[in-house]
Amino acid sequence: MDLIFLLQDVINGILMGSIYGLVALGLTLVFGVLKVINFAHGSFLMVGMYVAYWVVAFTGLHPYLALVLVTPIMYIFGYLMQQWLIRPIFVAERDVREPITVIIVTTGVWYVLDNLALLLFGPDYRALSPNPLKGEMIELGEILISTPKLFGFTITVLTAAGLYWFLLKTRMGRAIRATSLDRDAASLMGISQWKVFNVAFGIGTAIAGIAAVVLVPVYNVYPTVGVPFDVKSFVIVVLGGLGSIPGALLGGVIIGLIESIGPNFMTSTWTEAIVYGLFLLVLFFKPSGLFGQKYDW
């Protein structure tokens, strides 16, 4: 295999993988704080993509400027979702050690949202049109780099850094970390657990919104678009360590690299098998994942 090809594949793998990582970031944050696996995360991504699509279609904004609207809309969406749907279940299950019902509720949300989108928008594949980023490539001799994916990579890095800063330096960030370490102790210190849950869920959903903005210029929007990303996110989060921010990014890049380099040695059908094989191996040998610790942050 030519070195130049390898380089090309590595670049594409890192760029695409970082976008997977961005999707997984919201999932891992919600898990870290609420200890709930949000099965509806892919659907939130789908909702974000529709929001981004309509924002761009109606306002004519540059696809990335849509972030200004999509991020707050998704934050509010997630915040209210937690406030009205997840929280009542938490309250009802207050005395249960493992609030399993919450996980089932998120599965319900996933099905409701996907089918609602199917009902409202139909099964059509929508692509931005006009799309200023369509087909934009940076050419370095034989190597072609997709411009929108490069932007996606940059936005991922900025988002992760911003989230890190928020969690380390702000009062709310510290409250979130405290709650994720020990819910009861944090409550005793005067932190409102429900407020923290709402904010964390809101941020997780807002990150799905950011990922949606990144994906809309390169991807089609349709009701079940979240599902393949959702499945990938679970693998990434387990691989990187549940609740870990660097873990999510690194996990994403690893999956991206497997998908990108793998097909040089086999057909692309098999790369999927490798990804899931890796997932199983991690579960067997290092269930806490690459960066997973008993206590994060």
């Binding site: 594409n12 139909g122 099964p123 059509d124 594949y125 929508r126 079940t224 393949p228 998908e259």
Partner: protein, 411 residues
Amino acid sequence: MTKKSLATAALTLLALVGMSMSAMAETVVKIGNVEPLSGPSASVGQQGKNAREMAVEEINAAGGIKSLGGAKLELIYADSKSDPNVGVTETERLINTDKVNIVTGCWNSGVTYPATAVAERYGVPFVVPVSVRDTITERGFKYVFRIAAKDSWWTRDQFTFLKDMKDEFGTELKTVAFVYENGDWGTGFAAQWKKLAEEAGYEIVLDEPYPSTATDLTPVVNKIRRARPDVLLLTSNAADAVLITNTLSDYKVTPKVVLGSGGGHADPTFISGTSDNAKFMFDIVEWETDVNKPGAKETNDKYKAKYGSNLTGEAVDAYVAMYVIADALERSASLEPAKIRDALAATDLKTGPAAIVAYDSIKFDATGQNENAALAIVQINDLGQGLERITVWPKASRRAGYTPVFPMPQK
């Protein structure tokens, strides 16, 4: 009450229930439809649903099935989600719970294959509008009828087309690449491509199955780019057809011929999702809006006004399937499955709305396959009115005044 009279009473009751059920069934014929209404093929499923509904509305408005006292057709849907397991359980449910008289579906060959076996076991007629895997009608089944061409006919015509284009334009085509979704349909096509390519003396430079749910097809496109084929043969579902076409364009990969196999490439949203990136590619179809048959234009106009998109070959098959069923019911004058089956087997439909198909008559051979189903090849191009699909092959049906763009211009 003696035992005997109890038994008589029970029998009478049963007979009464049976009679009242058959009396009720006289007024309505239930057609169960297993279609992918959600999941990766939801958009084709929706078109199949639209086409069925339009046909059934027309049939019912025209007085229903006259030999059954004006019985109306009723459509009952089940969502297969493109999943064979779901397709099988839904078919069982339609037959056992909804007591449908006839089943149709399922678009995905992988779903149709086991679902038709269920219907055969229960002895319920199953009309397959379009699912192209050969073996669906090659298992000696008595109750399964297919309207679309089988995939061996599709692949055969794809290679005949390549040969005819070589001869017509004098362009050498030596190497081929196969890129296909890794389900039943794609792998079935690829196996036949391989045989045909070897017979025709092509060198196969890439044989690449990929998962339809892939979120990134750049790695596949890079493999095509490195293999530098003259001919790229594709079999794709909807979302991946769009993704692969856009990515090919991003990476400026321009084989001399890019030829699709219907499915995702024939989906009306394909052109809006790819726009200029799809220009000059070829696709094999059963039917195109420019087909020269009476009523075709009117039916398409009606469909477009109603549902906002053109009829596809697959939608036409679904539309025609309803007329085939109505025609068979008219002749069977009974809802007994065996009689409907015999009437279907004797079908020779030449007139009426079903005659919009590109061939002369719908007629099933002993295996249940429509022996007249034929195929055409179109090129996607812009003649000043936006991108459209233009029939180019067979040469006899080529749109008047159109010269195909061949080979594809380099980007």
